[in-house]
């Protein structure tokens, strides 16, 4: 290689090296942004960790058999959360029996059968979206006016569960519609092309394929309802219930019992409240974990 050629080559090499070096300020900006993102994440995680640590520290000593077997009592030594735990389970059962079928039915109708571009259908869809944004206390007022007083159900567990179900409807409807929409149209076309009716295709193919998504949305909606307090205060959930509740009796649920215990002056009740929070958290984490497991287990790539 001649000299001129070598020099030219070295110059070109320098130019390439410089162009590859990049601009320092860009990497600084990227670093700052990355730091901000990390910090944001850490703030959330630390807050959660502190909360959990505090609750566990305060509550764990009180998580014992008595918490599950005894009724609330003025004597913190004997107080338990049995009626509230039973009521929370009953509420979940009522939600499954009432809100779930209505929500899934609504979703199937709107996704699979409703005429597209119909004014009335559009209005219903808009309202469902809006319903999801209504504050929970408003649902409580509705429950009080319509269920407790309107049809004179009284401040019973059924009234509270129904109003929680109403509040849960939009969430589950929207999640179920998403799940149904994720089933490709080719499945419907394939079924129809075999001479199946629309109903047969929906019942035998589309709905089963959408079940995992529907179940996930339903469990998430239910876990929100189980942790809900405000609307139940409006419809008259009692704070002190020492008997096992039924559908048509007075009741208290875990979040309200926690609220009640925290207000009491004795320090032991603070510990009991923390213990009840742990019970509630375990239930909710289990429900959400199950939903996530279902989603991962049955998620389908089309």
């Amino acid at each position: 290689m001649n000299t001129a050629g070598r020099i030219a080559g070295e110059r070109a090499g320098v130019a390439v090296r410089e162009s590859l070096a990049g601009r320092r300020n860009r990497s600084v900006a990227a670093g700052v942004f990355l730091g901000y993102l990390l910090l944001s994440t850490v703030v959330g995680l630390v807050a959660l960790a502190v909360l959990l640590a505090t609750i566990l520290h305060d509550g764990l000593p009180y998580v014992d058999a008595m918490l599950f077997t005894n009724s609330p009592s003025a004597d913190p030594e004997r107080a338990g959360a049995r009626p509230a735990i039973i009521a929370s389970i009953l509420v979940a059962v009522v939600l499954i029996a009432t809100a779930l079928p209505i929500a899934v039915g609504t979703a199937v109708y709107l996704e699979e059968f409703a005429p597209k571009g119909n004014r009335l259908i559009d209005l219903i869809e808009l309202n469902i979206q809006n319903l999801a944004a209504v504050p929970s206390i408003i649902f409580g007022i509705l429950g009080l006016a319509f269920l407790v007083r309107g049809i004179d159900l009284g401040p019973v567990l059924l009234a509270g569960a129904l109003i929680l179900g109403l509040q849960m409807l939009p969430t589950v409807i929207i999640a179920s519609r998403e799940a149904l929409r994720a089933v490709p149209d080719s499945v419907r076309q394939g079924g129809m092309a075999l001479g199946a009716t629309r109903w047969q295709v929906v019942w035998r193919e589309v709905l089963p394929a959408a079940i995992p998504g529907i179940a996930t949305g339903s469990i998430l909606g239910m876990s929100r309802a189980i942790g809900e307090t405000a609307p139940l205060l409006m419809v008259g959930a009692a704070t002190f219930v020492s008997f096992n509740p039924g559908l048509l009796t007075q009741y208290t649920v875990l979040p309200i019992l926690i609220f009640q215990w925290i207000k009491l002056p004795q320090e032991m009740f603070q510990g009991l409240a923390a213990a009840a929070i742990i019970v509630l958290l375990v239930i909710l984490v289990a429900m959400n974990g199950f939903a996530i497991w279902m989603r991962n287990r049955y998620e389908r790539k089309w």
């Binding site: 394939g190 092309a193 075999l194 001479g195 199946a196």
Partner: protein, 300 residues
């Protein structure tokens, strides 16, 4: 175990309740002429289309199709994109009914009965005229349940196992899947999935199989398997296939219909049928210049 589907004896004619009712009850398997016994244009006319057109939301996508489709033959519909060949094939089993805003005009006579007569139930039509789609669309369940879906919804539940096996044999899939009928259909290869979809259509014992670009998502080996299958199916069925692939039409079709796009004065594009004839004539000596330009690759 032989897999040659031509050696299978056809199952007994469906005397099940689904074959009755509607204006289409006159059809039965015995009425079909023996395969290849007659020259093509003397065989029974399965579809006689007159002035068929389709509009989507008022916009015309296809007009004035006059076309006869004969029994026990493969009829290929070819043409450039947007020429309305897929739109047309969907008129033959009223699948266009499922598209909001689609309307069909003209008359499609199926064994002499107008498919678009108000008293004709599209569900009954689709029982007799099966369809296979561009992309394999097995249901997300087992291989067995896929094939059994049609018989189950149509109430043909007797000897379901035999029915499923017959359908899978005729679709030349039995030997590949007989040991894993309970496994998910989505685990099959693309070519196997498409043959499963064909088996699924065959299981309800249709008269006609419509195929809308059945090989466009498949590799050459799977394509070849499906093409062999189409040829063997003409022993018992009438096959109509839409294809982008002219070689495919030349290989499998007895009759070929060439569709093209007309541009109106307003600039609106609309599909038309240019020419229909025996496949060898379409590819070697077409009557229309447009057909010749297309099949020789000078256009589209």
């Amino acid at each position: 175990m032989t897999v040659d589907p031509t050696s299978e004896t056809p199952p007994a004619a469906p005397s099940s309740p689904v074959a009755t009712g509607g204006g289409l009850a006159t059809l039965s398997v015995e009425d079909r002429p023996a395969a290849d016994a007659l020259p093509l244009d003397q065989r029974e006319v399965v579809f006689d289309c007159e002035g068929v057109g389709v509009r989507y939301d008022g916009k015309r996508a296809l007009r004035d199709v006059d076309l006869r489709i004969h029994a026990n033959a493969v009829t290929a519909l070819i043409g450039p994109s947007g020429c309305g060949k897929s739109t047309f094939i969907r008129c033959l089993n009223r699948m266009n009914d499922l598209i909001p805003g689609a309307s069909v005009d003209g008359a499609v006579a199926y064994h002499g009965e107008n498919l678009y007569h108000p008293q004709v139930d599209p569900i009954e039509v689709r029982k007799r005229i099966g369809m296979v789609f561009q992309k394999p669309n097995p249901f997300p369940k087992s291989i067995y349940d896929n094939v059994a879906f049609g018989p189950r919804v149509l109430g043909m539940k007797d000897q379901l196992d035999d029915r499923v096996e017959q359908a899978l044999r005729r679709a030349v899939l039995w030997d590949e899947v007989k040991d894993r009928l309970k496994e998910g259909a989505l685990g099959l290869s693309g070519g196997q999935q498409q043959r499963l979809c064909i088996a699924r259509a065959l299981a309800v014992e249709p008269d006609v199989i419509l195929m809308d670009e059945p090989c466009s998502a498949l590799d050459p080996i799977s394509t070849s398997a499906i093409e062999d299958l189409m040829l063997s199916l003409t022993n018992e069925y009438t096959v109509v296939i839409v294809t982008h692939n002219m070689q495919q039409a030349a290989r499998v079709a007895d009759m070929t219909a060439f569709f093209s796009v007309d541009q109106g004065e307003t600039g609106a594009r609309c599909g038309v049928l240019v020419e229909v004839d025996r496949t060898d004539k379409i590819f070697t000596n077409p009557a229309h210049e447009r057909t010749e330009a297309y099949v020789t690759g000078r256009f589209g």
